[in-house]
Subunit: 338 residues, 2 copies
């Protein structure tokens, strides 16, 4: 292992980013100056940021650093796609404590690089510094979009269809699996969870993908959602954002929420309600969007898009309709447990 | 004091940012969606980021939170000015441990707001999360510049004048003063440092300003530097960046380096060499730039700009000429002590 001090600050950034190539015409000047220089002629610029802290957002006991780098980048791309934009550049800030060696950071950056290559995004800057405690990752992503294509959270209208992609709650169950494994390894429990047949759950937690494909298909079909978000905190929380910002209500049908079979089996094993996992689990990085009814036929042609409910008048609030047609008022969850 | 959990994640951001108004035409959509939306018609976009960690970049024993917020914002503006651009938007990511209450974060944000108001910058997004240990601040700043006005680090040419603004080493001495006070308060030393007459040193450390005024004056006089940086890590380190990126050498005269009188007096008291403080101290956030000789007469009209040396052939390296005309090879310092 190589001590980080061998490189010093400037040498370290240079070393870690030497294999990153830029791919976008809008990237005029990348790493190596006070700021990156980007050119967005007639497009509009999108910017988003995420701060990931060890022990809060990730646990290095079971998160390989390469996966962590990949995920840290992809969750930012997801925010840009959720605006109906294309991610183009990222800037990475790292805080690193003494227990990390250069090889660890190389692993982390190899994941960031893989994500950048797959999604056609350029790394254009960064800041690396010492940290007293663990690893801190700050990623800012810049994207572009045509002015008339951007989809906000506040455009949902009564009678709009509510659509969700992929499956929900799966990333949360992947996390439960990893947590159980961690406890078993520590001897806290003697139930050693089987990973076999559950690789998909792990993948959803450790290496999520952003739904670039869905955005591309929407654009190809000429569908512009009226509101859109990525599902990072759980369906319930995201619905709350769209409803409150659009000043509307919603009705969601629990049997329409897309659920993965493996996830449902594992939830049952843990005595968890899979719908609750989907509503409050988070980290799925799927898309939630609302569309005008006129787009219904086109939406039917899309793979992996599910109609989960409809937008209502604001006075109806957020309603979940259960399997026995019982109605439950939805609560927004989120980060309440600081 | 108000527990942070009272607000929850979304409520907290809303609460902390409710008094921020946007001032720039390029800010189309601010906080409240997956990403901010910016419009840079024919201008080019500049982006820079900084990650500030408690215990590494700041010590809350002697740093008021309002000052910290102000400084965290201003040091990012400084990076944009150092490209000859204008800062326009910032995004703030916070990691906050349990020992902080809402009032603490309000203090921090009041400093950020003051900086934003003074410099005409819009806060357009953020991410706030729990932290296990202390306070983490990640700030990304977006700025704009005309394509032909941007000044990089790599344009310095032989015979160019090397200029520095303000005074150097002062912020470092302010830090020494605060550290001494901290030790005195702990009873580690019985020398209680006098702050009286040294308020300026403290101000330079706790509440630095970015040199917007110098950038405005350069533009007004029609001077475009050939290379420019802000002095955040110390003059020696910044000269190293400009020389290596421009593939040139430099000669700096120690008696030309701008020094503040109070700082010099305090350095002597501490048995420190004030020139060494200026070369390696850091955090001054002054500007270092190189100019063509043709601009000499115009530069003479500028307040607070000092000629400290000249650019030479690369084979001469980086040379410091001392008071007795002795020549010393300059070493780049920086963050070597991870």
């Amino acid at each position: 292992m190589t001590e980080i001090s061998k490189y010093g600050e400037f040498g370290l950034i240079k070393h870690l980013t030497k294999d990153f190539k830029t791919a976008n015409a809008s990237t005029l000047k990348s790493i190596g100056d006070d700021a990156a220089v980007l050119n967005y002629g007639t497009k509009q610029t999108l910017v988003t940021t995420d701060l990931l802290l060890e022990g809060i957002h990730f646990d290095l006991t079971y998160t390989p650093l390469k996966h962590l780098g990949y995920k840290a980048a992809v969750v930012n791309f997801s925010d840009i796609y959720a605006m109906n934009g294309q991610p183009k550049q990222i800037i990475v800030g790292l805080g690193v404590s003494k227990r990390f060696a250069v090889e660890h950071l190389e692993e982390l950056y190899s994941g960031i690089r893989l994500a950048c290559e797959r999604y056609g995004v350029d790394l254009v800057g960064g800041d690396t510094s010492a940290s007293l405690t663990g690893l801190t990752i700050s990623i800012t992503c810049i994207g572009e979009a045509d002015a008339d294509k951007i989809v906000y959270r506040n455009g949902a209208k009564e009678h709009n269809l509510i659509c969700a992609t992929g499956n929900l709650g799966t990333a949360y169950l992947g996390l439960q699996l990893l947590e159980q494994e961690k406890e078993a390894l520590k001897g806290i429990t003697d139930v050693n969870p089987a990973f076999e047949g559950r690789e998909y759950l792990l993948e959803r937690q450790l290496k999520p993908e952003a739904r670039r494909d869905v955005i591309a298909e929407l654009n190809k079909l000429g569908i512009k959602p009226t509101a859109m978000m990525d599902i990072s905190d759980g369906l319930s929380s995201e619905l709350h954002h769209i409803c409150s910002q659009s000043n509307v209500g919603c009705r969601i049908y629990s049997d329409k929420i897309p659920i993965n079979y493996e996830a449902a089996v594992y939830a049952e094993e843990l005595n968890l309600n899979i719908v609750t996992c989907a509503l409050n689990g988070g980290e799925d990085y799927e898309l939630l969007f609302t569309c005008d009814l006129k787009d219904y036929d086109k939406l039917l042609q899309m793979k992996d898009v599910y109609f989960i409910g409809e937008i209502t008048k604001p006075e109806y609030g957020m309603v979940l309709v259960g399997r026995q047609s019982e109605e439950i008022q939805l609560q927004a969850q989120g980060w309440q447990s600081l």
